[in-house]
Symmetry: D2
Subunit: 412 residues, 4 copies
């Protein structure tokens, strides 16, 4: 009579190489075989590796972060064939829950080396660094960033349906043009046969996926993908365009928490775990909803601090050398981040600790003004209640030894 326990549509094995698990894949391609079939209305659990596929260890050395192999990341779980979904439909994904594995109650936030991955502030912070976060129920804390503890805004970094061949070709065209226009600088990641993992595909099909398959790093307008939207947390509903029969939905890159922008690149609290989902299909939804990119609404259980409990910093599109840029929100947001670092380092944190913290704590990054030429203005709201001390401007600053994050073994 009653409902059964939720079915686990795909398990992962944390002890087995990711590329030997056929329920995983690390490219977007329409021909990667579906690993399972899901019926709309049926809640399912889907297990996921952390986005590095287990390359990062729970220790106090950031060598693993520095030496990460970025061709072996983003092993997504899927693709799943969703019954009745056809191109032109909208796939509604309800995120019923997200949890870390009980037997693995930790995650990590990293800064990549500028020469291997980089990040939003790599001009200022070029070295690799790492913080390990311990989970206690809904809360997390880190021995590498003492003095903070907060409830996770837990969510998947990546979810999306497979591109059609046409959509994939468009991605490769436009990103290829960008790459071509910026020789010598890594501005995008083209298809890459090395370390391709195409689920259960082998031989020619796998080779084709390697040649054509889109990398998973960027989110893309046509399907979402690696949007890294922190608010896709428990109880959210996401509306995704369907491009191939059965949708071929994939998910992965679970985050225990993240700040707007995920600024250090490996910036969320990355974790392995399980996501519980339920699917609905809106027939011909793409046309009905005039949808070109995903939309969503958040769930009701986001951590709430009250509007007066954020300390908010402003930044403008004038760079650190005093150069004026024209309505550039990216530069403005970088300046905003620097303003927060300057403020918080007074308490005894080193800059890398704060860089890591702003990447993963639930900070609010807003585009405040985007029309007042020449300055874009962005803001970052830092929830004051994540600190175990009072960071209000009125309160006397007490500088303390706040330890350090993990650096590489040759750090001095």
């Amino acid at each position: 009579m009653g409902k059964q326990p939720i079915r686990t549509a795909m398990k992962v094995d944390l002890d087995k190489p990711a590329n030997q698990q056929t329920g995983l894949h690390n490219r977007w391609h329409p021909d990667i075989p579906a690993c399972d079939t899901i019926t709309p209305g049926e809640p399912v659990n889907i297990e996921c590796l952390d986005w590095t596929g287990g390359q990062i260890k729970n220790d106090d050395c950031a060598n693993d972060m520095r030496d990460i192999d970025l061709t072996r990341v983003h092993y997504l779980t899927g693709p799943f064939h969703i019954e009745t979904a056809e191109p032109g439909d909208v796939l509604v994904v309800e995120i019923l829950d997200v949890q870390p594995f009980a037997e693995r109650p930790w995650g990590f936030t990293g800064v990549f080396d500028r020469n291997n991955g980089g990040g939003f502030l790599d001009e200022f912070y070029p070295k690799a660094a790492k913080a390990i976060w311990d989970f206690e129920g809904i809360f997390c804390s880190s021995r590498h960033i003492p003095g903070v503890r907060f409830a996770g805004l837990i969510h998947p970094g990546i979810l999306g349906c497979a591109p059609s061949a046409e959509v994939l070709a468009e991605w490769n065209r436009r990103e290829g043009e960008l790459i071509a226009a910026h020789a010598g600088k890594t501005v995008a990641k083209p298809p890459e046969p090395i370390n391709v993992h195409a689920g259960s595909a082998t031989g020619d099909l796998k080779a084709q996926v390697g040649r054509e398959g889109a990398r998973t790093i960027p989110g893309r307008p046509e399907h979402g993908g690696n949007c890294d939207i922190k608010n896709l947390s428990r109880g959210s509903k996401v509306y995704l365009p369907v491009h191939v029969p059965g949708a071929k939905f994939s998910v992965g890159d679970l985050h225990f928490s993240q700040g707007d922008g995920e600024i250090s690149f490996c910036g969320a609290i990355e974790m392995a775990g399980v996501i519980s989902l339920k699917f609905t299909v809106i027939k011909s939804g793409v046309a009905k909803m005039a949808m070109k990119s995903p939309i969503f609404h958040a769930g009701p259980v986001e951590p709430q601090f009250g509007p007066g409990r954020y300390l908010t910093f402003e930044g403008f599109s004038v760079d650190h050398e005093g150069k004026q840029h024209f309505l550039d929100a990216t530069i403005a947001y970088r300046q905003t981040c620097l303003r927060v670092i300057e403020y918080l380092r007074r308490y005894g944190y080193d800059d890398y600790q704060i860089y890591l913290l702003l990447s993963c704590a639930p900070v609010q990054g807003h585009i405040a003004g985007i029309v007042d030429i020449p300055n874009a203005c962005t803001t970052m709201g830092v929830p004051m209640d994540i600190f175990d001390f009072d960071i209000r401007p009125e309160t006397e600053v007490v500088r303390k030894d706040r330890g350090k994050c993990a650096f590489t073994s040759d750090h001095k």
Copy 2:
């Protein structure tokens, strides 16, 4: 024994030309004479014109918007000499309240003509348009955008202290370089002697302010200014660096409401009214707080909709012609705006109505992801409860005649 009614530190006259009122000025310059003195701890009322100084009429024709004289805008009230404030101090400004004038219960949102002001989407919407908003207590509605009504997130668009001579010189240098590098395109506004209004200054001083004084359009990192931050509403506390003796604080450009980005440029619900402020001085606060740009925290009475009551749209740094840009949050936000317009036009609104609405309703514009090369991802959360119909994707769309906003007399 009890407190007296709050003193009005400066009145404005809505029926008198702005440039004849010595308590107003429209440039930032250290030598504009203070119009009054305020004691820290003393609450004061300060009256303000709307930012166009009364150029816009409450009617159904957007000719005034098209023909606006942008050399005659941003008449700020001030500057005020704040006792005890010295360069290097931080001026804490508590926003006790903001109100429209009771006898003038309306405001306006405008789209400028692309050739006279423009806006964030002027490539797509080049013509002038206008919406008049009527105020009823905390609520506003517009005959030009039927079907919406919402509580104002009322705030000043501009507040800041006067620049020092050095700061002003730096502004002119860097903005001048930008202008020089983009000949033929309006990328910034240089000092402009025409229609300069320097408060009570006349003669040589006024001429000097005209030659050197910074325009009020952009916010700037050193002092804030025209930040257009929607959350600086009732109960907020703003921390501003002081650059000259007495701070020379000015305020103006009151908004009944605004969305993140204020995308149509004249995008907030612009109004005349009164702001109630209280000042505190933190001695040597700039060094103590390591402050390069203003910071703030919001008040407790922002309109609250609940996290599940926003419908949120995603946008990416791929432009409308399919060109891929590199981590460009500005382009991503423009795409996000277009996604909302495409969604809402299905209900019968024309695009200009939505463009106006997204400029002034309390939409949340977030920088979601800024590191996943090459795509920046931004989001815009639209509060569903501002509509008197149900805009959830699951609900059948009923297309209705929703009137139109004000256009110019030659609009067809």
Copy 3:
């Protein structure tokens, strides 16, 4: 073209005796003449006296509180004839705004003497006391209760439509029975000809109102009245049953703020001011909505502290002498109040200061459990952010001299 300033439907004169103003009345009776007519859809301002009709002074002595004449209170503004409203309809009242008079920026909270009014804790705190609150925009603070400051949750204590003759008779019957059953104890207030004020009625009609008219102290299920619901603040919508032709709506007893329960009786921050309303009529709404008592929903701008920013105290239906009561939520709530007083007095407040504070600050009083025989459990959540010091249990208590509230001249 544009809307006119909001019409003031009734003015009051703070310097003239309340009983000489025909737009006021202090009884509920169907025959009190309407003072004005209001059209549905038309926003109106209505001015109100404070509920004591000006008996309380802004000073540091509580003699006025002790000696208050309770036959001369609750001068409501109205009744207003609402066009089209008929018995059986529901009158929808939208509270557009509530404001104190600019020229009178203060209010008061009082404890009555146990022998003249009393209050919820008069067994423990039998003496009169008073606190004066100064308003600064949305905030208030009191020289009599230093260390606290908060945004008002501003609202009317009283609003309702006149009873029909039948409803009035029922009130007098049932309250008369209660009085009869409790000889020697003031358990309710019967009709009272002394100091009756029936608006413009004179002579026989006024005498009849004196003999029959219901007192305004209690809220009553059939019409609402003096509900003292703190959440009927800006932006709320209240649905009221209509009992007589034209509804005969009245309003008054404005509060700058109040806590759940308004425990000290004169417990809100009582003030004179102006309320802005808009009316709609739902024809035959009483039957359609199966309405026996008013319903409402709150506006979106209540002060928000975040769920983790309330410190919440529990109380049970065991009284202070250790007597067990059966599921008595009233006794449980009294115990809850005492628990808060015991906690806060450690900071140096005297009990009367806290008693006054809990009456008027936006504390949340919940019925937590009402079925676990024999104990009812109630809670009171105190917003921690109203204090300028940290009241969390983990923080060391610093006892300070926190002054005192106003007492009577013979207080020692």
Copy 4:
């Protein structure tokens, strides 16, 4: 280096009789042996049965609810010896998480028969009834109450430390007096040797616990216990007085959700599951905090609907027969509940469905006014977003067949 998975301090076996599991007990008594020891600072998982110990089945018949054996309920998990805790200390309990068992994704809400348990509205709804709730991640829904679905406000109904012998004697004294004064009516539950379960105690000690041990139904001021406070959810911190060495802390009666008051008695969504806790001890905290009853603050992740998304009903202390009661909040709250039932039955629900729903959905029950003699006024706020249809008063009512809840087999 990293933290270990959280230790499970006590497991329960859902298939074994509760009274055969030594980690459970169903009385409060100082001498029940501790089942395990917990170190402050160590997070632990504690498994719990549902409060009926498994008497209720997942089916469509309420016979089990009617025939429940109330001497065999409230098997709490514990008591736990908390290291370093001594009488006079305060035990701080942080609720890290609460989850149902994955293999048992359902719970139940019940109405007891008036002759066996009863409930807050048993005068009106005397028969047994039941609703089964299915869990999908953070959400629940019921085949017995279609049209509603909501996020759980998950929490323990019971937590507390064991009473000392003195405290226990006081409980028995005062509750005995109440019983003695109300012969013929069940007003409280005295000690009851039948079906006593005293953990690992046997023989004389078990007999003593049966003779003296306090029943677990009521919460009590000295220790909390069965407070049924819905807001003690994920992330809450509760401060409990310690009465015996080692605190002897117990917990149980997990609720997936509950409304203020838990009005149908078995009114929460009762479930078996696991709670994750962390303990801290504040030495001499009872005196330091002047604590007579527990206090708490809620966590940051409560479901948030926004203040305008509650439809709130008023009730007064005039009972359904028109009798006036004196400031009786219990009667007022009963009336409030009836007002909601009258409103919601128009949509096609039967009253028992609504009675069940108001017991378990996150409704807000406030004590609005408690001083306006003779009427207490209470309110119940119903979150509108739990319904899949629009319950706003303005919206036309569509009456539908909404099925029925489970009744007994002889129900007609």
